[in-house]
């Protein structure tokens, strides 16, 4: 995949990681006490391991930071030797001129070679006719 498509994919990956992080954390967070008037929240079910709840933010944020660093690396790899649009257009015009000149040279060589081929074929025909002493049928 070319570098720009990779960059676009990386941006989408960062977005996906971000909203997955927030979504998961919001869904799995244990309930918290809002005000001293309300009673304590009911104890969390044993399905939520305390280790799990503490590990997930670390892993997810590590993945997010890694994706962001990857994006920076891709940006650094951009082959943007920028002379701007005009420099590129000038180079294209130069290349087109050179291409035309080389194309004409090629055409000339090709024609000369075809001419020589025809000559050789003609001479070869005559030589074989002489050798075999072919007479035209009357």
């Amino acid at each position: 995949m070319d570098i720009i498509s990779q960059l676009q994919e990386q941006v989408n990956t960062i977005a996906a990681l971000a909203f997955n992080t927030f979504g998961t954390l919001q869904r799995d967070a244990p309930p918290v006490r809002l005000s001293p008037n309300y009673p304590e929240p009911p104890p969390a079910n044993p399905t939520e391991d305390a280790a799990n709840v503490a590990e997930q933010p670390k892993q997810m944020s590590a993945a997010f930071v890694k994706a962001a660093k990857q994006f920076d690396a891709l940006v650094a790899a951009l082959p943007l030797s920028d002379g701007g649009e005009e420099a590129q257009l000038k180079r294209i015009a130069e290349l087109q001129a050179e291409n035309d000149a080389v194309g004409q040279e090629l055409q000339k060589q090709l024609e000369a070679a075809e001419k020589e081929l025809k000559q050789v074929q003609e001479l070869f025909n005559q030589a074989t006719d002489n050798c075999l002493n072919l007479k035209k049928p009357e």
Binding site: L7, A68, F71, A76, L80, G84, Q88, L106, Q109, V120
Partner: protein, 168 residues
């Protein structure tokens, strides 16, 4: 313009009745369209240019100008994005009801990022064209060299044959 769910085929087929006998009696195909055209009820333009962010009603975060330093702006936007995500995490902890503004700012940064990347595409297209032209010039030069070499070989063979024949 009339619309129908299952429109009949266009009636031009009658004009091509004698195509097998006389291909020139039939009308030419229509020329390519210029400007805007109507397709399935919506307008399309033949001028394919990337609409600027203001046209889509999105604020542009990176400086406008003739030459944008893409690498610098992309890196700056990336840092902004990370800062905003941290801010969102903070807001969710302290004042959870104010998430909307932060989420909007994050989506604004993403739109700017994608717009910057899209505006790199014409540059990529020109670079591809340059590469193709260079390859073509190289191939043509190679072909010229090949033809020259073959001609010289043929000349040499003919001279040798002539020499052999005269020697007989």
């Amino acid at each position: 313009m009339s619309t129908a769910t299952y429109p009949p085929p266009p009636p031009y087929y009658r004009l091509y009745k004698d195509y097998l006998q006389d291909p020139n009696s039939t009308p030419e195909p229509p020329p390519p369209i210029d400007g805007t055209y109507l397709l399935f009820g919506s307008n399309y333009t033949t001028d394919d240019v990337l609409p600027s962010l203001e046209d889509q009603g999105v604020r542009q975060l990176y400086p406008k100008g003739p030459n944008v330093d893409f690498k610098k702006e992309l890196r700056a936007l990336n840092r902004e994005l990370q800062l905003h995500i941290l801010e969102l995490a903070d807001v969710l902890v302290e004042r959870p009801s104010q998430y909307a503004r932060r989420v909007e700012e994050i989506s604004l940064i993403f739109k700017n990022l994608h717009h910057l990347l899209n505006s790199l595409r014409p540059h990529q297209a020109r670079a591809t064209l340059i590469h193709i032209l260079e390859l073509q010039i190289q191939r043509r030069k190679q072909a010229i060299e090949d033809i020259k070499r073959r001609r010289e070989e043929a000349q040499k063979l003919l001279k040798e044959a002539l020499g052999t024949l005269e020697g007989q």
